[in-house]
């Protein structure tokens, strides 16, 4: 009996074993190794051959060079390319994680069509063929209205394909979106009489930059330009670049600038005129030359620019802008003496550009300073050839602001990202009221795609061959090709193929030239045209060398470009315009400009100012890096967060972190309030950006973002909106 092993003894043996097991590495090591084993499943990046390829980032129009680390030809990591003429070896937080966006939950995998009415709609699968048939029928219908394509990254080869397609349909309209980088074409046409000439900013050689609301130190321009700015700010003595930021918001650029001028919202035009007043009054510009080259500078009529500027004395401007008079005089003198100086005036990527009248006043400052067509100022860029001959039928470019309201019956929105937010309400205003159709080529259900009737997912980043023309702010033209490095979803829709299909359905005799086009063929033509100019430089990403174009044989140029190289043009010789207008060609401009500068809301309401960084409102911000900034650390404010001065907030019964409702004449939106003592009293700084949930789920909310309640002015701007805010 004592030596017989009982059941209890066996249980004790098991108990002892269990106790011993816990004291051994077995359970912990098995757990550990099993966790690591799960990293090697079939859908994780495979082990295998590592290779490096080169392409360009397409998440915004800048087009930074990208070095792609591939495992078995599958992109797994991105970095910049040292020496890249555009990116200068950098990638932003959007660029560095762009290859992961294909895994975002809102990625569209096949064509969809919206069914239902009002708020009760859902998305149903549809074939590309059926979608093309529906759209062709809509285009051919007798309904009143134009057929339009809004192109988020103009001047690509695909952009020319859009214009070619629209030339084949009746009332085709090709639309450029409002952008805050670059010099608007309307301005160069009307003020500088340089129709068709693009201007960039020669920041590399400037000594003073006066920025009106442009995020010069936080995402504006190319990384190469930012690097040049950063280096210029470290120069010693008088050679050091100074940046003066005029903005009603204490933005990151305002924080980092040499001087921040906090003006009342909407009074930037008045400040510009005040500065012009000082330059003229103190003889800090060559007025005789200006009279010679401009008909409306001082024509003695009482309605010339000098007459307008006379009204805006520093004391007068102080009352409008809250900027001290001596500060205005000081800045003007600084601009005049610390040359080359220039004025940049884009606005921030969420608030959109200034209105035309204000832009004219900013450009006038550049003219007074001699900053147009000269080193360190606004410089003309050489033309980048397109893929078509000059006599090919292409629809002209139209600005969104110039499209008549309620005129578009079929609207296609391009899939590229402009890097900037555009309120859907602005686009919707251009649509006919009776059953417009909106088609989106976006790769993700985000932004304008959420409002589309047809979703035709185009290939996303690195999933197709494309190209990138000159960045809008660059001082010389450039061109590069983007390569297909990854596989798009099986049911993707290549826009050019879709348009060919639609064109074949619309016309009884489809245009054979259009039907035979391919992106590869058109891009090759473009490279051929660049080669035929025998000018410029070519950067090879593999060797990191830059060679003169004329030193390369034709086949080498094509080879380098297809491997991710970049062509940049030579700098254009300084060439100041010979004629310009200070008020624009329109005889009523004087009154409009004066009115814009005199702007005085005079009410007790608050001013809602949308703010954001590059990529605002686009899917590009919803990546795994940005989640660290937006969601996990609160370093950047998520969408629908409103920063308000504590005094203003408390007056309205708000508390820091509380939920509130912002109301404008366009609607209301729920927001989260954050107190910020650096905020201007009376100003609601509303963040436009990803919502906390948008990083890992599909966001369906269409009409609750802050942009939807911004007032769209008659000139299609939305920078400032009168608003009120109440606790929710």
């Amino acid at each position: 009996m004592p030596n017989k092993i009982s059941r209890r003894d066996w249980l004790k043996l098991i108990g002892g074993s269990a106790a011993g097991l816990i004291l051994t590495p077995i359970p912990w090591k098995l757990l550990d190794e099993s966790a690591k084993w799960t990293q090697n499943w079939s859908w994780t990046p495979p082990k295998g051959r590592i290779s490096y390829k080169y392409t360009a980032c397409t998440q915004c129009p800048m087009g930074c060079g990208v070095r792609v680390r591939c495992v078995e030809d599958r992109p797994v990591g991105l970095s910049g390319i040292a020496g890249d003429p555009v990116g200068a070896g950098s990638l932003c937080t959007m660029g560095i994680a762009g290859h992961l966006l294909r895994y975002h939950p809102s990625r569209l995998l096949h064509p969809l069509r919206r069914v239902g009415d009002g708020t009760d709609t859902r998305l149903m699968p549809i074939t590309a063929e059926d979608a093309a048939s529906d759209i062709a029928r809509a285009i051919s219908s007798e309904d009143r209205g134009s057929v339009a394509i809004i192109d988020m990254q103009p001047r690509r080869t695909l952009s020319y394909v859009y214009r070619r397609f629209l030339a084949l349909v009746e009332q085709g309209v090709y639309i450029n979106p409002p952008l805050t980088s670059g010099v608007p074409a309307g301005l160069t046409d009307s003020v500088l009489y340089c129709r068709g000439t693009e201007f960039g900013f020669d920041v590399e050689n400037a000594r003073t930059i006066l920025s009106f609301g442009t995020s010069v130190l936080d995402g504006w321009g190319t990384p190469g330009q930012f690097k040049a700015i950063a280096e210029a700010r470290t120069r010693s003595g008088d050679a050091r670049l100074r940046i003066i930021q005029v903005e009603s918001v204490h933005s990151r650029t305002a924080q980092l600038a040499d001087e921040w001028i906090p003006v009342k919202p909407g009074t930037e035009g008045a400040l510009a005129l005040g500065l012009s007043h000082v330059l003229l009054a103190e003889g800090l510009c060559d007025t005789s030359k200006l009279c010679e080259h401009s008909a409306d500078f001082d024509d003695g009529s009482g309605r010339s620019f000098t007459q307008l500027a006379k009204r805006f004395s520093p004391a007068y401007v102080t009352a409008k802008t809250a900027t001290p008079a001596e500060k205005i005089v000081g800045i003007a003198r600084q601009l005049a003496t610390n040359k080359p100086s220039m004025v940049v005036f884009g606005g921030n990527p969420a608030g959109g550009p200034f209105n035309l009248e204000e832009q004219i006043l900013f450009m006038d400052l550049n003219i007074l300073l001699g900053a147009v067509g000269t080193k360190g100022g606004l410089v003309p860029r050489g033309e980048l050839p397109g893929p078509f001959e000059r006599n090919d039928r292409l629809v002209d470019e139209t600005q969104l602001a110039d499209v008549p309201d309620h005129s578009i019956k079929v609207l296609m929105t391009d899939g590229a990202d402009s890097g900037e937010a555009i309120p859907w309400t602005l686009i919707r205003r251009k649509l006919v009221t009776n059953n417009p159709i909106v088609i989106s080529f976006a790769s993700h259900l985000a932004g304008a795609a959420r409002h589309a009737d047809y979703l035709l997912p185009s290939p996303g980043y690195m999933e197709t061959t494309g190209d990138l023309p000159s960045p809008a702010s660059a001082s010389s033209a450039s061109y590069r090709i983007t390569r297909q490095l990854d596989t798009p979803p099986r049911q993707f829709v290549e826009p050019i193929e879709f348009l060919k299909r639609a064109a074949a359905m619309i016309a009884a005799h489809p245009d054979p030239d259009f039907q035979s086009m391919t992106m590869e063929g058109l891009i090759k033509k473009r490279i051929d045209r660049i080669f035929s100019r025998h000018r410029g430089f070519v950067f090879d990403p593999e060797s990191r060398e830059t060679k003169k174009l004329f030193e390369l044989p034709h086949s080498s140029l094509r080879d380098v470009m297809e491997r991710g190289g970049c062509w940049t043009d030579e700098r254009t010789r300084s060439m100041p315009p010979t004629q310009f207008s200070f008020l624009g060609p329109d005889s009523a401009a004087f009154d409009r400009i004066a009115s814009a500068a005199e702007r005085d809301d005079g009410t007790a309401t608050l001013t809602l100012v949308p703010i954001g960084t590059r990529g605002a409102g686009t899917i590009a911000q919803e990546n795994t890096i940005m989640t660290k900034l937006y969601r996990e650390s609160d370093l950047m404010k998520t969408g629908n967060t409103v920063s308000v001065n504590p005094v203003t907030g408390k007056e309205r019964g708000l508390t820091d972190g509380a939920v509130a409702v912002v109301t404008t004449e366009s609607g209301s939106a729920r927001v989260t309030v954050r107190f910020d003592a650096s905020g201007m009293p009376g100003v609601l700084e509303a963040s436009v950006g990803p919502t906390p949930g948008s990083f890992d789920r599909v966001e369906h909310r269409n009409d609750e973002t802050i942009l939807q309640i911004c007032k769209i002015e008659r000139n299609s701007t939305w920078r400032l909106t009168s608003a009120e805010i109440f606790p929710a």
């Binding site: 004592p2 030596n3 009982s6 004790k12 002892g16 011993g20 590495p25 077995i26 550990d32 560095i96």
Partner: protein, 207 residues
């Protein structure tokens, strides 16, 4: 009526139970600490023995960079190609059997030697020799310790479950087998970065 309670700990049956308990514990401890490490890791021998000590010693006096070099773009090549051995080993010069095999199977045929890499990092890890050696000025011994003076190459050990080398995973609870740090684990990288005041974020190494 008084009932006597049996003291089971002192009775033969109770003692047996205690012994069974401790036997179970001891057996599992033995299994966990002695047997398990050999079960969970498989050993992979190098294709043949190589003596770093012979090559770096006084007679030959090679330095690490003589074989483990950078290409013209500054990228670290790592394990040298067979052609690096050829100038000296066109004929057998070393340990007879090993060197004969080197010459006949690899040098003469031009085939690459399938060296087993001890510390190949997972695909989600990006490591740059150029950044550490050329920019930061670290010596090879900082991470590779005395490897340059070893007389032979130890077998590489890989987990049968995860497939990763024992050399690259750091201190876990009851790390088995308990090994001195080989300098290739994330913990080693992180502690060295911290010691040298290097700012770091996830993306520096996990691109």
């Amino acid at each position: 009526m008084i009932t006597e309670t049996e003291d089971t700990t002192t009775t033969p049956g109770g003692r047996l139970g205690k012994r069974m308990f401790f036997a179970g514990a001891a057996g599992t401890l033995l299994l966990g600490w002695i047997v398990f490490p050999y079960l969970i890791f498989r050993s992979v021998d190098q294709p043949f023995q190589f003596s770093h000590k012979t090559h770096t010693g006084d007679n030959i006096g090679l330095d690490c960079v003589d074989c483990h070099t950078y290409d013209k773009n500054g990228r670290f090549i790592g394990i040298p190609a067979t052609k690096v051995c050829r100038p000296c080993h066109s004929q057998p010069v070393g340990i007879p059997d090993e060197d004969i095999r080197l010459v006949t199977d690899y040098v003469n045929t031009g085939k690459e030697i399938p060296w087993v890499v001890y510390s190949r990092q997972p695909e989600n890890v990006y490591f740059s020799h150029a950044a550490h050696v050329r920019l930061a000025g670290l010596k090879c011994q900082s991470c590779h310790f005395g490897h340059a003076y070893t007389s032979n190459l130890r077998p590489a050990r890989f987990s049968r479950i995860s497939g990763y080398s024992l050399d690259i995973f750091g201190k876990t609870l009851f790390n088995a087998p308990s090994t001195p740090s080989r300098g290739m684990c994330m913990d080693d990288c992180a502690s060295c970065h911290r010691a040298k005041g290097v700012k770091e974020s996830c993306i520096e190494c996990h691109k």
